[in-house]
């Protein structure tokens, strides 16, 4: 499910099935050297989370990405979001990010960190294959959280 009206209606009707929220955490970097890299990471993160949503549509709701800059980044962001989503009825909340600094929260939050892969230079079929490979790496994380 995506965060749009038709899907949200379905979520509210079927809360016992759609019990997982995916929250992409995206760092925006506007520095001369970092901007291109950060946009590439964002593109990758969005393609991958959309692909995960497509595969597990009936159990997952993909939220719009939470973006922050170096200065607006807040350490309490994920814990606050998690609490609010739990109150809304989600059982598991999974954060997907390319920003390595979140891995230190791994102990008490479900954080999946992935090194960004530059998809922009790739052919469509190669891109599809890479996303499938990446998905295969994410699936064990998901099933671990679900059992």
């Amino acid at each position: 499910m995506n965060f749009k009206v038709t899907d949200v209606e379905q979520f509210q009707a079927q809360k016992q099935f759609i019990d997982t929220a995916i929250v992409p955490l995206l760092q925006l970097d506007f520095a001369e050297q970092g901007m291109k890299q950060s946009s590439s990471a964002g593109e990758y993160l969005m393609s991958l989370t959309n692909f995960i949503e497509q595969q597990f549509k009936g159990r997952i709701m993909l939220l719009p990405p939470f973006s922050y800059t170096v200065n607006t980044k807040s350490e309490t962001l994920p814990t606050t979001i998690e609490q609010e989503l739990k109150d809304a009825g989600f059982k598991s909340i999974i954060f997907v990010t390319c920003d390595h600094s979140w891995t230190e929260f791994k102990e008490f939050l479900n954080i999946i960190w992935l090194p960004p892969i530059p998809l922009e230079s790739m052919d469509k079929s190669v891109k599809q294959r890479i996303l499938e490979d990446q998905l295969k790496q994410v699936i064990p994380n998901l099933t671990n959280i679900w059992v």
Partner: protein, 168 residues
């Protein structure tokens, strides 16, 4: 000069009829074109999409065939990626849509080790027979959709989605 030379009156009558005829045609032609437009419109829905799967290489074991088509949403055109599970049944090719009938996840062939001959949906453990018919007692309430199948130059082509023709 010949005997039946054209009089001024005749000449004017012919000219006006001719020019008037052209003008009337110029007005009527677009009207007629508009009126019969629905017939001339090419039907986009139901067109077959070419895949890269060779029809001869399809076996009785379902394989995943990816394909994509263009979708127009208002003025925004986008390329939509879709997939089908394709296998041979007798001399026919069957293409099953991977979209779970429960809540729309993507099902996979034999991804559940305890049921290697079924389609499996990892979200809520929904299962389907190879024919796409849902296994009773699992969450899905209906069979998986199928695609219309055709062949072109030895390659598989997939058409629009149809209801599953296998009966329970």
């Amino acid at each position: 000069m010949s005997k039946n030379r054209v009089t001024r009156r005749q000449f004017l009558t012919y000219t006006i009829t001719g020019v008037g005829g052209f003008m009337a045609a110029g007005m009527l032609m677009p009207m007629v074109r508009f009126a019969i437009d629905p017939i001339l419109q090419t039907k986009e829905e139901g067109d077959f999409v070419q895949t890269s799967q060779k029809a001869a290489e399809i076996t009785e074991v379902p394989v995943k065939v990816d394909f994509s088509y263009e979708q127009t949403d208002g003025w925004y055109k986008s390329e939509v990626a879709d997939a089908a599970w394709v296998y041979r049944e007798g001399d026919q090719i069957v293409a099953i849509s991977p979209v779970c009938k429960h809540l729309g996840c993507t099902v996979n062939w034999a991804s559940d080790p305890t049921h290697p001959d079924q389609f499996f949906c990892a979200c809520h453990a929904g299962r389907y027979e190879k024919s796409g018919v849902n296994v009773k007692g699992t969450p899905p309430l209906g069979p998986l959709d199928m695609f219309e199948v055709a062949e072109n130059d030895g390659f598989l082509m997939l058409g629009k989605k149809i209801a599953n023709t296998h009966s329970n």
